[in-house]
């Protein structure tokens, strides 16, 4: 299981849970499962987010998630 940390305003879509456990080996699987279990997250994830695994921003959906990794969803980052 992988624990995905959400930002708190997303808890409206996860019955209050700030951390959602998913069974996933990759970023894409984790995102897919998040939407399957909490469909309200769909529009947010489709709108563009950044995925951070163990402090590293991970741009590739196919990146593997090691068991026990710390996964955070953040608003999409870019810069000037």
């Amino acid at each position: 299981m992988v624990a995905v940390h959400l930002w708190s305003s997303l808890t409206r879509f996860t019955d209050g849970a700030r951390v959602v456990e998913v069974e996933a080996a990759t970023v894409a699987e984790a995102l897919k499962q998040l939407v399957e279990t909490h469909p309200g997250l769909g529009p947010i994830l489709d709108g563009g987010i950044s995925v951070v695994i163990d402090g590293e921003m991970v741009p590739n959906r196919h990146t593997a998630i090691e068991p026990g990794a710390e996964v955070y969803l953040m608003q999409r980052l870019k810069g000037g």
Binding site: W7, G47, G55, V58, P59, E70, L77, G79, G80
Partner: protein, 746 residues
Amino acid sequence: MAKDEFREFKLVGTRPDRPDGLDKVTGRARYGADISAPGMLWGAVVRSPHAHARIVSIDPSKALALDGVKAVVTRADFPEGLTGEDWNLQENTIAGERALYDGHAVAAVAATSKLLAEEAARLIAVEYEVLPHVIDVDDAIKPDAPVIRAGAADASVPEGMPPNVVRYMDFGRGDVEAGFAEADLVMERSYKTEATHQGYIEPHACLGQLGADGKGEMWVCTQGQWYIRKMCTAVLGLDASQLRVTPSEIGGGFGGKTTIFMEPLSLALSRKAGGKPVKIVMSRSEVLRATGPTASASMDVKIGLKKDGTITAARAEFRMQGGAFPGAPVDMALYCCFAPYNLTNVAHVGYDVLANRPKCAAYRAPGSPMGAFAVESLLDEMCRALKIDPLQMRLKNAVKEGDKSSYGPRFGSIGLIETLEATQAHPNLSIKLGPNQGRGIAAGYWFNHNGETSVSLAISEDGTAQVSVGTPDIGGSRASIALMTAETLGIGYEDVRVNVVETGALGVNEPTHGSRATFASGKAAVIAAGHAIKEMCRRAATEWGIEPEAVEWVNGAAQPAGPNAGKHPPMTIAEIAGKMGQTGGPISGHHESVPEGVGASFGCHVVDVEVDPETGRTTILRYLVVQDAGRAIHPAYVEGQYQGGAAQGIGWALNEAYIYDDKGRLANPVFLDYRIPVASDLPMIDTVIVEVPNPGHPYGVRGVGETGITPPLPAIANAIEDAVGVRMAHLPMSPATVLAALKARG
């Protein structure tokens, strides 16, 4: 010459002349407005004089009656049915049913001369029905504010929020109330910052051509030619690959040239004028009224501090307006504002609010300067109250590798503590100050960014190398990429030519933004050079009849890796390249990725000011920027980023602001009134480059472009309080506002 624990460098860390220097000191470099084409027309744009108005009718007949006027376009010439950000871009390019801000484009015209196009634009009759408008973020968030656009809120906004709130966020961890209860001092303050403009000296300019077959070309000053391509083709309903975009030299961007404004208009005009190329060059007032300034912010911050300097809890609630479209960088502001501090209890709340202003674009570390202004100002005030040294307080709470960031994930390798220690050691801190003089300190943060990157490298027949990159060179990136490529190949800096190429020449690249050009294009160029080296080693091995693995690359030549590989004299890159036609053909390397391993950059600024108690004018006496570069590839251009960021921050702190009249019209759309710092406003800007190498980059680069604009806003506010004892909580701290504060204090 730089070195780290493992390596010494021949070129990385040196300061050679930049490759494009000669062109830029002789006037030869070609910027956006410097190109013309055979049969070219000039375009001009009709803009709304109202902050908010329904467009009743547009009558171009008088304009079209002029000899030499070739085309007029309105929204009717653009496809319908766009959604999301594509629709936002189209609506911002040219208004649909309503004009949403002063300067919003309503129509455009193309004619055979610039003066004729301008005259024709004046003759296009637009009838408006003026609607109520709202400018200030605190007004715009009221439940009864004029509604900019119903239904613009995204899924993040809970039911029942005011109508102009289009994005909402809250996040954090721990228990802030318990944290505040542990503190010896809890303070809560409100702050405001006004919208400012990137203020690049080159106005937007483009030359677009589009035929009835849907094929087009564009020459444009931009930070990102692929963004121009993607956005223009989306707005016009074209196939992306059919538009070829060539970036000009760029006269500054700072984030403001990462999006589109009048570029689709030139293409639409060209198509309507039978495919003739159409050049559009914005005036300065068009730039200020109708491009993408940054957001304005209204912010509440509450912090708990112990007498020993430990921060026990922190809470921020930020409201930002980014114009008539979603996208104010309130999320980034919240992520960055507490980033320097190791916090157990932290809470953030943010509102992205619509107002009748131009659609904000990125501006150097988008959001971070505002957040830093609020948080670093309050921390300074609290340090004063508890008589704690502000630098010691920052050292006590500073984040380090492995700590959880205030916004969630753990930090990798970072250099905040090294940066603070270097600040503490700087001689500027021991200079004695006189009457009405004060010293201010503040820290700042920016994540840095990677982004889609595609780079191609080719070895020429004489053993020199060319590198094609997709990131326009705004501040010396050709030089830094050439240094890294030459270092890797083991050849001279002058033997590498770095070309910024058009969209037809590479895969998709994100713009030069997010402090990413030297990090991402540089990393890709180094990897591409590695591929070419591998191929050159293979060719040498074949020539020698040994295994490729038995060949190594040293000082620009292939050589046997050890005594078992046989005795062969080194084969230089020139020798290998000279024979490449007979050994298998061209030798090249390329790399495409979204490079991982971005390294965040912290900075700390110290400013000494003198405030004139008679006029309220603040003079910057001296200024120090200390920042972690990871590694400075070309230190002169790293210093340049630090100094330029500080100067922009000084302007934001002291002078710059979008000022609107009561009709919602921008009152200062010229440089005389939107006053950016001039040479006589500033002292020399001292810099210290801290180098904590980023393990995610082959030469340790972090990216340095953005962090430097973050600390000046609070550092100067802190210095003003130190000088004259007034706390300025609303930017800009112009002479009038400082004087008013001095008088109010009595």
